[in-house]
Symmetry: C2
Subunit: 325 residues, 2 copies
Amino acid sequence: MTIKLDDVAKLAGVSKTTVSRVLNNRGYLSEETKKKVNKAMKELNYQPNAVARQLFRKKTNLVGLIFPTVDNPFFGELVAELEPRLFKAGFKVFIGNSMNDPEKEKAYLRELISNQVDGLIVGAHNYNIDEYMNTNLPIVAIDRIINKDIPVISSDNYQGGKLATELLIKRGAKFIVITDGPLSLQTPAHKRRQAYKDVMKAHGLEPRTFLINFSWSIEKKKRSIEKMFQKFPTMDGVFATNDIDAAMVWQTAEELGIEVPADLKIIGYDSAHSTRLLLPKLTTIEQPISAMAEAAVHTLLQRISGENIICEQVLPVRVWHGRSV
Amino acid sequence: MTIKLDDVAKLAGVSKTTVSRVLNNRGYLSEETKKKVNKAMKELNYQPNAVARQLFRKKTNLVGLIFPTVDNPFFGELVAELEPRLFKAGFKVFIGNSMNDPEKEKAYLRELISNQVDGLIVGAHNYNIDEYMNTNLPIVAIDRIINKDIPVISSDNYQGGKLATELLIKRGAKFIVITDGPLSLQTPAHKRRQAYKDVMKAHGLEPRTFLINFSWSIEKKKRSIEKMFQKFPTMDGVFATNDIDAAMVWQTAEELGIEVPADLKIIGYDSAHSTRLLLPKLTTIEQPISAMAEAAVHTLLQRISGENIICEQVLPVRVWHGRSV
């Protein structure tokens, strides 16, 4: 029987994360905890796996990126901003499109780890993937919570949600619906929804959430948006938490003869480069994609070289003023 | 002095391509040519480079993709369609964004070759890059001519240009301008322009080309498009050879108070997934991106396994009917 991290954790009476931190000497740990874990490892004759041993191997100059899909203006621009920076720093870049499928994400992770990448930048949105816990690879997450040891780069999602909701209210909208993905995806982007709720309540307005899942097909999204118009016939504002959904809401409004912004005000989120080129009329919250890429690469390089890093970096957002609000 | 492929070619009195084909045993070669080349190699004591020797090494299960940038709806979707297919076939995928810079493309090629990829799929647009000639790697090109030994997957660019121009004329446009990149980029996409010219001439109309370079900044493109409106004040039709340019032409028309499609008819090219979501009103020529990815991966896998392949595959296009023509 192979002894696993789990067995060590159970015998030591600590969590798997703690064992992983002891193995990687990362994060704050009391001397007592370290002793307990080391004792348990000794007792069980625990051999850290191949990945752990990788620490002592030479650099491969490979970095893996895992994102839902580059067929999306936000992730496309993000990858296009990350890759040349990594290349300039001497790294070749692997890419995986996880499509928010946990099995696919796990498969990528195993492949990338076995390929001995020097580090990972991940923006896929699955939680509780053991592979992340059991590796001592340097990892940086973008807009995603993996575990508390992995640094997260994000833009100011709460501020973005606040700006969007306040703008809709300022322009006269009262029945405002937010579209968002399922809360089961662990992402700081849910702070957009929290800010929306807080602002609505502060103005005595009722918050309403309508679920649109990022990984649904276009047809399913379209039908779902039509249902939203049926469910909320007096809706006069939509805060869509990504621009593709905002564009689809706008198109559905046009099909129904609802005028934007006169009868319905719409604000999106992301404002990626190609979205601004194709649909500059969409009012939206602009994420600083280039600065996020810069911060992610900088943090990853620090982690790879063994430096201490700041655990969360939140970059400022601003409103892109189109003509939809 | 190191003996190069060039020296062998000169002594044998054949082209570098021919020497490369002899080395790789690829394409039709007469016995006489083979003898000449082998004799010259022997005389010069020519040692095929590391890349050539790679043939005899074991597979790495790595494939490199080189495209201008994934921050573009067409290339973003193409990469998103290629990568999962390659992953499913057991390959991990490297990605490089060349931004149409020949130096960057060369640097990527050298890196990928030294990393011993099993094959390459390229859609970057530079010509005469020696690195492509001197490698015996399996390569598949998408919408790009590298040399006659490398298979090209493209959609029917001539048919697309014909459909676009005929539609503009059918709807009443007479002063039609085509926007296109420089002819120095060797791509079958120039057939769109050729079809435009042929159709215009067949209708007794004067073809007019306006240059917009893919790699220009947004600001430069914008200023350039404004100049196009100044230069051609009676223009009533634009055939933009990509959707981003078409969207920018439309926005400029709106700013100038020109009504689309009443006063100006606009047709784009590509019809990528995210473009159709963001700007479904744009009439455009739809490239079969998913089928192109399928054909490229299929051909690359055939090449990697040493099979003979068809040298050019042209896939059908169709019109996406929006409301801009």
